[in-house]
Symmetry: D2
Subunit: 312 residues, 4 copies
């Protein structure tokens, strides 16, 4: 990860400025506020503001005054009930804001989550950093032969070396040419007085999709959990999943009861279709059910057996 000295100094300064507030405050999240959690080779995610806590979810569900006098275990039960029955609106009462540095191809997946507020670094206006994502060797995976959207084995030997070389050289060369076309150095100072320099909004098109960008991204807890349920999932692309996993840790610190309920009722849960439920009932009744004649496709059958922990 690449925090400049200036950035580190800014974070230290922000962490030194304490104020008094009457708002709900979460010490475990305050402890990590502003700090950058490294992700991938140059990326990070850091919490820069938040609003609400586990109690805000409970309060909204009760729409009552003050912070309530119920015992903590009743609050836990209510949060679990809300999560189980997908009563989503109380979770919208908490809000969090992240600062994220991430490769552009990851940003393109991420931005598809529309219920969020975003301010991205503008390459129309500013010059992007000389930073691009290069996969670690363990992530240099081949195309999966069974899943058209997934990864297979890790590339080895010459093929791996060649791929890494290409990725590095192409990103570097394209960045060099980007700077050359701008006729500016990375601090925005003109270089060659005899050239005008291509407009930034045009020059950026020469960059590769593994160049890093950054943004502020703010959302409510309900939509954040929806994001995490899709992106912290095993089917998500590795390069976005690592961001989701880092964010999930901040959720653990922020709203521990909501996070625990989320793991039980969403991340670790499975939805069984009407047909699957019928098969489970037959299995529980001792019947010998096989895929042929089950009404499930082979693919669904395999998914069900995996869910039930049985050999397919």
């Amino acid at each position: 990860m690449a925090l400049t000295d200036d950035q580190s100094a800014d974070i230290a300064a922000a962490r030194a400025t304490e104020a008094r507030t009457l708002r709900p405050t979460v010490p475990a999240l305050e402890a990590m506020l502003f700090e950058a959690i490294p992700v991938l080779d140059h990326g990070f995610v850091r919490v820069v503001d938040y609003m609400g806590d586990d109690g805000a979810v409970v309060q909204a569900a009760r729409v009552s005054y003050g912070r309530g006098t119920r015992a903590a275990n009743e609050d836990r039960g209510l949060i679990r009930y809300l999560m189980r029955h997908r009563h989503s609106t109380p979770f919208e009462m908490c809000e969090i804001k992240y600062h994220v540095k991430l490769p552009i191809f990851v940003a393109r997946q991420w931005i598809r989550h529309r219920t969020a507020n975003v301010n991205e670094y503008s390459a129309r206006y500013s010059i992007l950093d000389r930073e691009f994502y290069l996969p670690a060797p363990a992530q240099l995976a081949a195309q999966s032969s069974v899943n058209r959207q997934g990864r297979g084995d890790v590339l080895q030997g010459e093929e791996a070396a060649r791929v890494l070389d290409l990725l590095r050289e192409d990103a570097t060369r394209n960045y060099d040419h980007y700077i050359e076309m701008l006729n500016e150095d990375e601090q925005g100072r003109a270089v060659d007085p005899d050239r005008q320099g291509l407009a930034r909004e045009l020059a950026r098109m020469n960059l590769t999709l593994n160049a890093y960008t950054q943004w502020y991204w703010k959302t409510d807890l309900h939509n954040l959990l929806h994001f995490l349920s899709l992106r912290a999932d095993a089917h998500a692309q590795y390069e976005i999943r690592v961001y989701a996993e880092a964010m999930l840790k901040t959720v653990d610190a922020w709203v521990p009861e909501c996070a625990a309920a989320f793991r039980d009722y969403r991340l670790g849960a499975a939805t069984l279709s009407a047909q699957m439920l019928a098969i489970v009932r037959r299995l529980l009744a001792g019947e010998d059910v096989q895929q042929p004649g089950s009404g499930l496709s082979k693919r669904e059958w395999r998914e069900l057996m995996e869910t039930l922990g049985r050999p397919a």
Copy 2:
């Protein structure tokens, strides 16, 4: 306004519980946090949480680290530039949560603003309070004869008295019957052991639209300002406008630079159509332009003359 003793005690307790935070904090808003601002005869609005400040808008526009080192007047200029050119996303970086008590017919207008998070008191689950809105005499207006959607003169004498009597008697009687059908008192205790009591989700249908409900309502600053631009406007119905005006004061305390820019570029501004602009140019050139032949309808001409402070 009707705060119960319990509610007042809860507010006092919440205001006594101070914490330390690293988050941006606004003392002027902290000073009014949790306190209920009275609106109408039994309603109120109160800020129960917030996130961000003027600086958060500037920070998002700059997408830079830390809280910046620019002079305050540069920040002001940037905020005004953003507001003037409708660069709305930086204003989405601030969030505020209100607790509101309001008549149901006002709630029905309010809820049309969709980009917000809401948890409303549920009359399927709980019993509504015996409170309903009765207009003050000065608000007992006749239908406007020129605006099919507005108010005209204030009703006087017998007609006014009759209207107030009807509103009061009908609301009271319907509430009494609501309680009777429930076979519960207002605290939810069964009354007549020989009756079952109608389900709450059904009994509520007997209530009048001036009964009070309450909710938590949370939104970002951009959408709040959009709400206020429509609801703090002279064309808004009085009964929602007074809520908007109370909220506008909380915005003044919270983000004073954004609030000032909002008053200049939105509340106090006017949009002139292509045709209107052409007329203004002709007027400035000394030409004598009259409505006939101006290309504007009579209604538009009247609107333009009003905007320009000229006799129609």
Copy 3:
């Protein structure tokens, strides 16, 4: 249901006006276009426009040209795959618009679904019809003793008669007073020249929550299915569920493959938490698992046994 003669004539005229189009067209939905499906005592729902079909979902998932050449059974498999794995965006490519007449207390639940476009009849501007919902005897239910949000037994005898009388009389009287305060008849003609009449935006507050309103409501298929999964569910209040059930029939006609997948993977499906899945695995392994020690609360245990079709 109350269609006026004018309305029936308008529907007949609309149904007589056929055009040629290159757009995807669904004959089964065309057959019911504009026709009002009766719901409750005076309500209805009718499809007034639509866009897309099953093929539009497939097309979006394939992002390919034209309408494709795959066999119909491959399309069905793809739709089922999308529904099972909650790939929701292709379902957003279909859009439908309804005209609905419904009691205000139902409208208040309905409007909480924010991702939709709505234009409601305005009682600031126009006079509402003299129509209010009165439950049929079979729907006059007592409060549930086990579910604070539900219904129990049907009221009988005197209590039922008294409740119906109160609902009818209060709604009627309040409507009469509404009209009196307006000093207008139901067609908007002034009645007493010596009175001014209360503004419509104020007079409406005297109406009861079972008065009927109407609106155009437009949404995409994904959000419609989400609405139906919550409102066609057994836990939904009867008075909104009957609307959802009527709309589900229009979905069957419109996008039969999507509707079938929705019934299998959403309406008829169940989500099992991590703990529930562990218990199912133990049961399948022949273990005797009881609620005490299962890790589930009594309530969750009961829900699980019900899902599995076993005695609790």
Copy 4:
């Protein structure tokens, strides 16, 4: 623009398949349905479905039965009134779906408009075409010296030639390496049996931001007009503005009354702040007002004089 023979055949086939419908139908839009409008060097935009017409806006505003019997000029007046007073919800009753081929850096701007439905070609799943945007010589602009976000003079001579060479060579080389890393040809057939091929979801990161992608993009008329007001504006980047201009022509064909009102009250209109209005009033009163002492910054003064068609 690059339509393959297959695509052209698909379009021809779709245009040959006519159906009968009772829905509102717009012949002028039907005439261009499915046809690709060329944009930039390889891009296009084409309407693939629509719902509603000018009459649907009027109908929603009137929330009345049928298609209405008012004269066309009353409908026009109502549409203009709605547009002038920003009554936006009736415009949400029309929906349109486009198929767009566009450079990735344009897609990144476009996707910031969140109130839309999108399905994009997936480079996790499929191989992108060998197509990238190269600006025409007239678009090869230098960075603006007065606007940090804009363009200045067009590059000339050697500098222009060098920039074009770099853009072409880098995009081509990176695409070649993308294909090499995949170990697939452009039709997805394996090339070298001794290599595994890098996963598609990784290889795509080597592509440049001027590579073309494509998507289905569906939105309602209100949000489309908001998009066009920002993107058909002179301040928008040329490469997205040409898409907006092509789409504006489809709006002209689809909803001509709405489009005309949009041009008058939005595209051709100007918003004057409270301070600007005060100055216009003083000017109209014959006063000699200059920037110093006007209360406007130099920048705002220049904007106002430009709006009023006066020398700054």
